[in-house]
């Protein structure tokens, strides 16, 4: 099992509050009062990486991205 770590980024200017991320992966994404995305963690690995990927893949605005962890 690889323990790949990635850092999670949100482009808040692109988020328009579809809410797909926090419905599909509530352990990684939360919502603010308007229903826009809030990142609950900065680094993901293992299960949280899988969850983060599902949020990233289903964001209609492409506002979520995963990067090499520093």
């Amino acid at each position: 099992m690889s323990r790949e770590r990635r850092s999670l980024r949100l482009d808040a200017a692109l988020c328009s509050g579809h809410g797909r991320c926090y419905v599909l992966a509530p352990e990684v994404f939360g919502e603010d009062e308007r229903g826009h995305c809030v990142l609950l963690v900065e680094q993901v690995e293992g299960d949280s990486l899988t969850a983060a990927l599902s949020g990233e893949q289903n964001c209609p605005e492409g506002a979520i991205s995963l990067h090499e962890a520093p």
């Binding site: 229903g35 289903n58 209609p60 605005e61």
Partner: protein
């Protein structure tokens, strides 16, 4: 012989083929004429995902100020749908919290109870006309709940909504030139009703949506009554018909595809994914209008400022350039970035309400009526534009009382 295009090769978007089974027509548009002109109205139709999404994200070029062109009985633009940023953003900041997923979850028990009650009303008959008996009343009830309005006003609102969205249905004999008057008349009835409802709430404050709008402030200033009316108008037009149409499209699809229906009956946890995938595949709200504020080039075509454009969400959602296996309906699609609720700053304000209503309705229906079919010899009838199943006669077996 398909009737997606006329003899000049122009798409017949309001014809029966585009209404009942639009996907092959979309495909032909994307490959043959991604920027097409229609015969009726002076519309340019944009079909590729890339172009549709780019337009939705550029409100400074593709404006939503289409109130005068559409003439839907409004006296001013509907808020926030027919307003552009940055003004639109101020309204969205105020309205978004009232329509957040968390807030909509509070309405869920009422919607679930109402869905169950509607089904209990016709279950023992073994048949129903799905549109009239279920798909129309359920979202109207949700709308009344949200605004804190009495249930007995349902028929009043349904008549107004229908007079505005499809006046020809309730006024078959009226001359087509009278449609504008019928719409304006319905608009006036709507304005008058909400004026009165606001008066009541001025006397007795309430915490429903209408009461909240009366006390809400943007940058320290209360909303004008006309602004509240323009918000109410949108909710009535956008909140009822769209969910009604989606419920009909879903049940028509599942009645015609029993193996897919069997999957969600056996595994109800697939229902949220099925709702998303059917939003993509059916895209009941097929298109959104915009007007160009400047000259622009799309897919090699020069378009001029002032041009009305139709952004075909349904075609964007079935574009193989953007979706893997775009023609396969997969309730477990790993990547489903459909644009059924639009994208960009105008993302459907009611999307969280709609999703909740759709999931709850599908759960309650399939728990009670897992096995159903179209009544033999009948043909479902789709409306043009927003794809409502105006006629969807279903039947099922009723266990005999022992």
């Amino acid at each position: 012989m398909s009737e997606y295009f006329d003899e000049e090769g122009k798409p017949i978007l309001f014809g029966p083929d585009f209404s009942s089974c639009p996907q092959p027509g979309y495909q032909e548009l994307r490959t043959r004429c991604p920027v097409a002109r229609t015969s009726v109205f002076d519309q340019v139709v944009i079909a590729r995902h890339e172009d549709v999404v780019r337009a939705l994200r550029q409100p400074e070029i593709f404006s939503s100020r289409v109130d005068l062109q559409l003439a839907l009985g409004t006296e001013r633009p509907m808020i926030p749908q027919q307003i552009d940023p940055p003004e639109q953003t101020r309204y969205r900041r105020l309205l978004d919290p009232h329509f957040s997923r968390r807030r909509m979850q509070r309405l869920e028990p009422q919607i679930r109870e109402q869905a169950g009650r509607l089904i209990d009303g016709f279950f023992s008959e073994g048949r129903c006309e799905f549109d009239r008996d279920f798909a129309v009343p359920l979202p109207c009830n949700a709308f009344l709940n949200l605004f804190g309005l009495p249930d007995d006003r349902m028929d009043f609102f349904l008549e107004i909504k229908d007079d505005i969205i499809r006046p020809q249905v309730r006024h078959e004999d009226a001359d087509p030139s009278h449609m504008k008057e019928i719409r304006a008349g319905a608009g006036k009835r709507m304005y008058a009703y909400f004026e009165e409802a606001m008066d009541e709430r001025m006397d007795v404050p309430s915490d429903d949506l209408l009461g909240s709008l009366l006390t809400a402030e943007i940058d320290g200033e209360k909303l004008e009554r006309s602004e509240i009316l323009d918000i109410c108008f949108l909710m009535l037009l956008a909140g009822l018909d769209t969910v009604t149409a989606t419920l009909g499209c879903n049940l028509a699809y599942l009645a015609a595809n029993p193996e897919q229906r069997q999957r969600i009956v056996e595994s109800p946890q697939l229902i949220p994914g099925a709702v998303e995938e059917l939003l993509r595949w059916e895209t009941p709200v097929t298109a959104v209008p915009r007007v160009l504020l400047q000259d622009v080039e799309i897919a090699g075509e020069q378009l001029e400022a002032g041009q009305m454009v139709t952004l075909l969400l349904g075609s964007a959602n079935t574009d193989p350039e953007h979706f893997e296996d775009a023609d396969r309906v997969d309730f477990e699609r790993a990547r489903n970035v459909h644009a059924a609720f639009g994208v960009g700053p105008h993302r459907c304000l009611g999307s969280h309400l709609a999703r909740m209503e759709l999931v709850v309705a599908m759960e309650e229906w399939h728990a009670r009526i897992p096995d159903y079919r179209l009544q033999p010899g009948e043909t479902p009838r789709y409306s043009a534009g927003i794809r409502e199943l105006l006629y969807l006669p279903l039947e099922w077996d009723v266990p005999r009382a022992s």
